[in-house]
Symmetry: C2
């Protein structure tokens, strides 16, 4: 039945099942496509071409369904702005149900709240108290995450506030209100909210360049709250305008370098506390700080230095122990709280005046701070800039953390909705004495491994902070500042990801370059410049790839009808008289000229090779468009031009397998007519077969 007619041996017999050649037969056997008899209803096959014994049925290149401009634009916009199709669940629902769904959409608490049970509460309670204290080591699961988590919540809040040059109490306030708000609005079950190191650092660095937190503490605090407000506005509008993809422009490589640099900057800032220096530089750069450290060596305090280095050594040691032996992870998890307790007791007994302590912290919950927001005056530009920078950085961390845990637990987090939740949280926070907060990786890791089930764990955590605020504040009186510096250094040292950088070097040199640019930029120039340079390099890398796209000569892989790169598949053989070139990028104005020149270069090389080996010269160039995802007007012009040039040399140019949008554009412009349906082929194999027919008249 299959191979009995010599003339028809290569054409498909549409009444019978497809011929059992190559792998399609197997695929079809595994899953027979329905109704093979009518498969050409939409795109009737071209007339069968006959040439001696070589006969093949040619398939037409199809166009996608014709859409109006408005519809095409709407679909494109929907894909850019609503890639997650958030309204999907509203389809085919009654209006009452839609209302409920809408309520649940905007306040996820209604979604999980109705199914909330004592059993879930128990899990959340444990998790919430765990993040709040971090004193209860949890065995099993996500140990590495905990190992990285060396922050005690209270200590963490206070330390990060110091990183932002803010009074320590602000750090505690920021661990109370934002988690409450997030538990109402947030869609992640695992995200634990609080201040984070990077955003604190950037805020501190940017505001401090303009206002000294020591000389004008009130103004500084005002600016910090205002910047937090702007950060919230920026975050919420990004989410509202569905522009969440902007955070995707911060690549992992960039962040690796940025965090490494920031960690060193942060550690250097701690030299102030570790050495007991009173008059410290307000700049963040490596050189400024080192100069300041050595210029002020008369202020170095030996008692502080001894205590600081001792505890720093202990903390780093516990970190090492836990890293070596994951079973002992609780050592590094408990060490910071233990250090705080021991050092506070020591300092209480010692009562040395040369060791600076946190001092009196006001008891009571967050005072309102809406009246401290300042929208006029000369600092508006600064606060907006700081707000945008800290806003985007904290969003990046929050979204990444939320997505990570969502993917572990197999649920979806709506990035844009998360942005709105985080934004509203920060706007509200700025009116309640909080500075920028977001989903923190370290807290969330603990939260997750302690077995949290819903956002209630955030409420529990807030309640624990409330207790601290109301009753435990005096305990911090004698906590030495130097111990906070030691804890911060231990914490941020974990952000220096040398192994990650090494992996970048191994896998992608340009990513490594972006990483190093961010690292050195942050370290030597400024936090903002470092980030800007790294983002610039990352984007330039993309543009470069589009400007100089991969182009490969393809050959037939023996035993198949597939054409593959002859460099990758060394067994692939060039078909004599044909040059098959695959373009592996969209064809845009940035590469259209290169495309033409590259094809001409391949042609020259192939012709030289053919001349040497006495083979027939190239008569047909097949451009494999399978990987050309898009084409613009310059690209279309380039194709026409290439055709013109090749026509002059009596070489045919045919295109194989243009994808939908490209085929559409070609037919919308004059290029479609230039090539016509007899120069557009379904696949390279068919193009070669048809081209061969024509070239042998």
């Amino acid at each position: 039945m299959v191979v009995n007619n010599k003339v028809d041996s290569l054409s498909y017999d549409v009444e019978a099942p497809p011929p059992q050649g190559a792998s399609a037969g197997s695929a079809a056997a595994a899953a027979p496509p329905p109704a093979p008899a009518h498969h050409h209803a939409h795109a009737p096959a071209a007339p069968v071409m006959r040439e001696g014994t070589a006969v093949m049925e040619l398939h037409k290149v199809s166009l996608p369904e014709r859409r109006s401009t408005v519809k095409a634009l709407r679909q494109r916009l929907a894909e850019v702005l609503f890639p997650d199709d958030p309204l999907h669940q509203f389809k085919n629902q009654s209006s009452a149900r839609r209302l409920v769904l809408a309520l649940q959409y905007f306040f996820p608490i209604f979604q999980w709240g109705s199914a909330y049970s004592p059993r879930l509460l128990r899990s959340d309670l444990i998790a919430g108290l765990t993040i709040a204290s971090l004193a209860i080591p949890q065995p099993g699961g996500a140990r590495r995450a905990i190992t990285n988590t060396v922050h005690v919540l209270a200590v963490q809040g206070i330390s990060y506030a110091k990183l932002a040059n803010l009074p320590p109490i602000i750090g505690l306030y920021s661990s109370f209100v934002p988690p409450l708000i997030y538990s109402l609005l947030g869609s992640s079950r695992d995200l634990a909210v609080g201040p984070v190191s990077i955003a604190s650092l950037v805020m501190g660095s940017m505001l401090r360049e303009a206002v000294s937190p020591d000389d004008q503490p009130i103004l500084y605090l005002q600016l910090a709250f205002t910047a937090t407000f702007f950060a919230g506005v920026f975050q919420a509008s990004l989410g509202f305008l569905r522009l969440g993809f902007i955070v995707d422009f911060l690549s992992k490589a960039t962040l690796t370098g940025f965090m490494g640099g920031a960690a060193i900057i942060v550690s250097l800032q701690q030299l102030k506390g570790l050495l007991g220096i009173v008059h410290f530089t307000s700049h963040m750069g490596f050189i400024d700080v080192m100069r300041s450290v050595f210029k002020r060596h008369d202020e170095w305090e030996w008692q502080t230095i001894v205590m600081g280095t001792a505890f720093l050594a202990i903390l780093l040691l516990t970190r090492q122990i836990s890293a070596r032996n994951p079973k002992l992870f609780w050592i590094s998890a408990g060490a910071p709280l233990a250090s705080v307790i021991i050092s506070t007791i020591l300092s209480f007994i010692w009562k040395s005046h040369s060791i600076s302590v946190i001092g009196i912290l006001p008891r009571g919950v967050n005072p309102p701070s809406a009246n401290m927001l300042t929208f006029n005056g000369s600092y508006v530009a600064l606060t907006i800039k700081t707000g945008i920078m800290t806003g985007i950085l904290s969003l990046t961390e929050g979204i990444a953390v939320g997505r990570t845990f969502a993917s572990i637990n197999n649920y979806q987090v709506d990035g844009n909705k998360e942005m709105m939740a985080i934004g509203i949280m920060n706007m509200a926070g700025s009116c309640a004495s909080c500075y920028v907060t977001t989903g923190s990786f370290s807290r969330s890791a603990v939260n997750y491994s302690a077995g949290c089930k819903t956002a209630v764990s955030n409420i529990v955590m807030a309640a624990a902070v409330l207790v601290t605020l109301l009753f435990l504040m005096p305990l911090f009186h004698y906590t030495p500042n130097v111990i906070l510096s030691a804890i911060i250094i231990t914490a941020v040292v974990g952000l220096i990801d040398v192994r990650g950088a090494a992996k970048l070097w191994k896998v992608d040199k340009l990513d490594f370059l972006a990483c190093m640019a961010a690292f050195l930029g942050v370290l030597l120039v400024s936090v903002q410049m470092g980030l800007a340079i790294a983002v610039g390099i990352s984007l330039f890398k993309i543009l470069l790839q589009v400007t100089r796209p991969n182009m490969v000569v393809k050959g037939l892989v023996p035993g198949t009808q597939t054409y593959r790169s002859v460099v990758q598949y060394r067994e692939a053989v060039r078909v004599p008289a044909f040059l098959v070139v695959g373009v592996e990028s969209a064809i845009y104005f940035t590469n259209s000229m290169y495309l033409v020149e590259r094809v001409m270069r391949y042609l020259r090389d192939e012709e030289e090779m053919a001349l040497k080996s006495n083979q027939s010269s190239i008569r047909c160039v097949v451009l494999d468009m399978s990987a050309v995802a898009a084409i613009d007007t310059s690209g279309l012009d380039a194709l026409s031009e290439l055709k013109k040039i090749l026509d002059k040399r009596n070489i045919e140019l045919v295109l194989a397998n243009p994808v939908g949008s490209v085929a559409e554009r070609m037919f919308n412009s004059a290029v479609g007519e230039t090539f016509g349906s007899d120069r557009l082929f379904f696949s390279v194999a068919e193009a070669v077969a048809a081209g061969a027919c024509k070239a042998q008249p």
Copy 2:
């Protein structure tokens, strides 16, 4: 022989020719690949898989040859910086021959000079004199190009100099020295060199904002020469550093909008001359100019207005006539010179003092101007900026024109070498009283259609200008300025390409947006801002395409073993229990998250569909990587994450046809191990076949 064994019916018999199924057989028949018996030498086929009657031989995914880091980097750099392989001709040559080739490489005149003949000289002589006079209409060939060319050389030089607010004589000087230098260094045979409208306009606009050409003519001239020098330095260094691809970032859409806006700006500036206004605004913006025109209506000069509008009407009319009837192209080609002659005679007879005339032009060749270059003082930043802007714009025009004519005449122009030639020409020009020059489209079109053969036509043109400079200068004394304004307007009106913009709208809405942004930006804000906005939009468009790549669900096209988009090929059928997704972009940090989410969304939709139609649910996701040209570390992580998520749902994730660089990266990172060789397939068809085998235990 082929289909006699039921068990082996789907596997290739390697000793026999490939089975004659589908089109590969036909391709093979047209061009039998050599040595089919040993085609698995490099990538041995995996063991044949047997499953009932479905048996297929699987092909391994190959990696390209292993390269060292240095070699990979070198190849990549070579592709970015030397895409044209300029050293190709030096291969396998003796050292003496190499010296000759090097000399020819740097001074193309040695290449064509040795073969130069009287016959070629005759062609060049005619062409050179034609550009110099434009008075001899040439019948036939490239008529449209000539139709667009309404400039008389002398008039063009003078007019463009006025556009740059420079004394008219500078325009003539700039038509003398640069062509001579280009004829020595340039590699294009057709390029005719001289001042061009856009670069003149931008230089005039940028310098005029800082220095008034009327109040401080000497300073203005110094700045113009210095900017020209910097433009030359910038151009030559771009060429020397092989960074020529930067000019590719100006897309055709951008240039269409930019030129349209610039043409209107230029025309508006001519209102000064047309209305005879003496005190005109120094700004270029639409609003400023219109305000100035109406505020100064007391300065309007009726004699000037009458003369100007009359000649303008005649010039536009001749343009129309030639456009309607290409045979009458000589009317519009000759009209400007005729207008100049007639108006000069009229003005000489009339001797009205109210019509401003060019006046006395100094006789003699270019005076040296090296002493006028100023590198210190407060204007350095301005001249550098102006130099870079005019440099890149004139490069864009020069390279585009050179490439266009090279492709018509089927020779290659080395873009980077051209840049060096143009750069050196401008550096030298700035020392010989010339301002920015480049290859001019209008001149080159005339040059080409007049039959030029080599760069000698540039020498002839320079000689003609020399004669003008030495003997014909007094003739321009009574030429009214208003006539130059009319000629400029007629010339630049041709740059407003409404049809081109309409085509952009039809083919690519985002290109149209970039075009309009450039147009409105130039018109309403400033020339630089318009250009910056348009370039920004063009680049953002590329980034957007990479951020939200096309992703398509693929189905089996009946009668083939090929999987294609089910949206494009409506006859393609989904294989039950399989989800085949094609990614049509490189996978980068900007789209790695989107990729995961989009696949999950497809999965949800497919599962809903399967549920409705009672089909089996998805058991295997095949990611078709054919169109993924590159992947970075974030992309690799995303693949691992997607695998983890799908593993939790008991869905297999397999990859089909990763291209060389992607496969390489996967094996360099841990991702290669995650997927292993049993989850990487040669093609979608094989992946489906193998996946089916596994899923039916």
